[in-house]
């Protein structure tokens, strides 16, 4: 894997000075076309051995291209804010929008490789991380991104030379730290683990490019030319995801499904409600204040359901039990322009709570497999792959300690009609009912199919769906508050 990058590649000064202006011009032009089209972001990873010039290369690209459209992320140790969220949060936050370039040096590869070299994780854990990185990058590509990965390589000897050379001059000596030498002593192990990581994550959609970094001119020209080639190729090919798998399944033969099975007559009397709701709220409040919850966990609650199912009212009963400084309610409507320029899950990642906090989503990422599916806003290929991406997303949350609680509030058509009419009558509730709401009623069955498929494909033991009988608001509210309290308690016991 590193053979070609240990040959002592070189470019002499004259050739370099002749080539660079042409390359710069072509790169700038390609960058402008990417920007004008605004159809895809460029995500560039600059990785490699210490002394290989991961950072120098980035500086060079900033010099060669228009730096106003490039965001550089030198991901070192995570900040406090980052540490208090799931590990992938900081990378999601930094993703460039369509048309722009995001350069990462120090990326999602750093932690797994370094942790493995220092024996902090097992080999099979490394493989697990690499598999989830591959899926993450595949998702980026499926969402349209151009992912370009460079690995700056130096042989052990070349690395030593580079460090010595830097140390000689007072202007550069500061760039070689004790840590660099310490890592140099572990060169062989670094090489082995990096090779493993590159091997497992060189996919056809996002392959690694290993670049010999001993000669700066060779390295710079090579990176520039490869990048140019990839930009040009992406600008001229039509990118389209394709369904290669099964179509959505037909409804069950006997027409029974998880929604039909719900007993919507379930209800509570006022007296029961007045007794049970405060009790459930008390439990939720107590759990949310526990030290272990504040230090190790967070909670995401998803509310989905047809119009007028009572999501808003339920959310208010939940927040009533929480400290106002520790929750956010995020209502999800059609994506904004900023959000449309990002991978689908971006806006949900952005709202991931920090430790000890709650995010309540009034509608959620499930829009893709519900409204976008039923209304045809997303292509079949896109919503079909979303199931898998959502399961991965929730897995990352759960493995970072986030308690994920998902509610589907079910009412029947008759009850919905009653509530619509009531809203029309009640002045201050009228704004809540629109022509869309009436139209959605006609698609009731299509939504029911979509809900059942969603439950089949995304109700997992780490993040199960809770189907709530919501014809009676009191019943629904108590069950919701109680389920959140129970889910947090279960996580705390684990």
């Amino acid at each position: 894997m590193f053979e070609s990058a240990e040959l002592g590649h070189q470019v002499d000064k004259k050739d370099y000075e002749r080539e660079v202006p042409k390359l710069r011009e072509a790169l700038l032009e390609a960058q402008m076309r990417v920007l004008e089209k605004a159809e895809f972001p460029l995500i560039l990873l600059s990785g490699g051995v210490d002394g290989g010039g991961k950072g120098e290369v980035v500086n060079l690209l900033l010099e060669w291209m228009d730096p106003r459209h490039i965001q550089v992320h030198a991901m070192g140790e995570p900040t406090d804010e980052e540490l208090s969220r799931p590990p992938m949060w900081r990378f999601w936050r930094a993703l460039p929008p369509k048309g722009k370039t995001g350069v990462f040096f120090g990326s999602w590869y750093t932690a797994p490789i370094v942790d493995r070299v220092y024996g902090r994780i097992h080999g099979s854990e490394l493989t697990r991380s690499l598999a989830s990185i591959s899926r993450f990058e595949r998702m980026l590509v499926d969402e349209g991104a151009l992912v370009v990965k460079f690995w700056m390589h130096l042989s052990k000897k070349a690395q030593k030379q580079r460090f010595k050379e830097l140390e000689k001059s007072p202007g550069t000596a500061w760039r070689v730290s004790e840590q660099d030498w310490e890592r140099h002593r572990r060169y062989d192990r670094f090489r082995e683990v990096s090779e493993h990581a590159l091997r497992e994550t060189s996919t056809s959609e996002a392959p690694w490019n290993v670049v010999e970094a001993a000669d700066r001119r060779y390295r710079n020209l090579t990176v520039g030319r490869l990048l140019l080639q990839m930009l040009q190729s992406r600008l001229t090919t039509r990118h389209k995801t394709q369904v290669r798998g099964a179509p959505p399944p037909p409804p069950p033969i006997d027409a029974r499904d998880v929604i039909e099975e719900l007993d919507l007559s379930r209800s509570l009397s006022d007296a029961q409600y007045d007794k049970r709701l405060p009790k459930a709220q008390g439990a939720l409040n107590a759990h949310s204040r526990r030290k272990r919850f504040r230090e190790k966990h967070a909670c995401i609650v998803v509310f989905e359901g047809p119009d007028a199912a009572g999501k808003g009212g339920a959310i208010r009963r939940v927040t009533a039990a929480l400290d106002a400084r520790r929750y956010d309610v995020v209502p999800i409507a059609a994506p904004t322009e900023e959000e449309r320029a990002q991978p689908y899950l971006w806006r949900f990642w952005r709202a991931a709570p920090r430790r000890g906090h709650f995010t309540l989503f009034d509608r959620s990422w499930y829009g893709r497999v519900l409204v976008e599916r039923v209304e045809g806003f997303a292509a079949e290929a896109d919503w079909m792959r979303a199931y898998r991406e959502i399961v991965d997303f929730e897995d990352s949350l759960v493995s970072a300690g986030v308690v994920v609680v998902k509610f589907w509030l079910q009412i029947d058509k008759k009850e919905q009609l009653r509530r619509f009419r009531e809203r029309e009558k009640t002045g201050y509730k009228r704004f809540k009912i629109t022509r869309d709401d009436w139209r959605n009623r006609e698609k009731w069955m299509a939504y029911e199919r979509a809900v059942c498929d969603m439950v089949d494909r995304t109700s997992t033991s780490p993040a199960p769906w809770h189907l709530i009988e919501a014809n009676d608001k009191k019943w629904a509210r108590v069950r919701i508050v109680q389920t959140i309290a129970d889910s947090i308690e279960a996580a705390l016991r684990r």
Copy 2:
């Protein structure tokens, strides 16, 4: 994930008897169209809980469809022959050719799930297996296969009922074993691990279909209808793989590459050769007879190189050191019709050596990224993804203890010409030189680029490329025999 499969779905006898004839007719027709087109195989996995009727469903499909075109594989405990080869070998061997159907009950999922339930492997090892299963299935789909996966589900209660019901009648009591009851006691753990496996391997290209199996009529109709839908959808969509990643990289700026760097003047005198070859052969022979090699290892040697590079002669020097009962030489030419009806790697898997044995490939799976790339026999999307598939293939070999040694024999154009002329003169060697050989010479540079890309992408530490200076046959042969001996020795020391 199992919610919809615990509802007590049922189909009554009258409905069943009305639906089945229509379904059978449609299934038969779809099967015939698959057979006539002969463009893709159907790979059907029937998995699920004990008592769910994995086998009954398969019998039913055999009854409903034309059984002559369906091969059924009840993969239980591996046979001796299978045990002596890498674990995936038996599944590769059983893959159906294009147009046909292969049904697996007991599949590549069985071992990881059972091993995890019984605590024989760690959670992260399970994840690693599942990731490699996902890649395997993606490869099958990329190669054109329709992969349909059914999971027959029973709740714990329904499983108990099923067993009791079977035990009641003397005609079926034998079908419930002590093992079934033992596993029933572990139901919850099985459910948990299976859910994890299904979650990690439900991809958009090969999703799982969970089917409630409590009512046989419902189960049968559901499986039949889902299968029909998938066949019909696959018959009407055009299947095409697509490049979504980077184009092949341009040659290095300074025109230096691993091939150019070889010192082809390297040679041995006759005296050196006569001394060193027998010594290397002796070492190889000794290692190949060691108990540890015979019991835990096998060896695959790949010979690639331009025409007249001396592959055949080198192979004979290797086999001279081996026990004739313990090696196979497999010459690779254009694939046969049988081989073209299978995934690309099928014919190489088929030749995987059993423990203690050697397979020497005179040309190999690298044909896809060499001749097929250069001559345009394979589409760019196909040979670009082959790098990744090859790395996975060799990883499965190496992790099963197979020592993989890969040689590229390099000669220069002048030496090749000299050998061609010599062959033309020597009667008994004339058959070895054809018009193709002369034509290939013209593509010398294109081949060199292909070789360098191949080394960059597939020379890994578990299975590195050895580039052999082969202008002098003596030098090449000694290096080859010695390298095989050294590689085996290194594996034995590990």
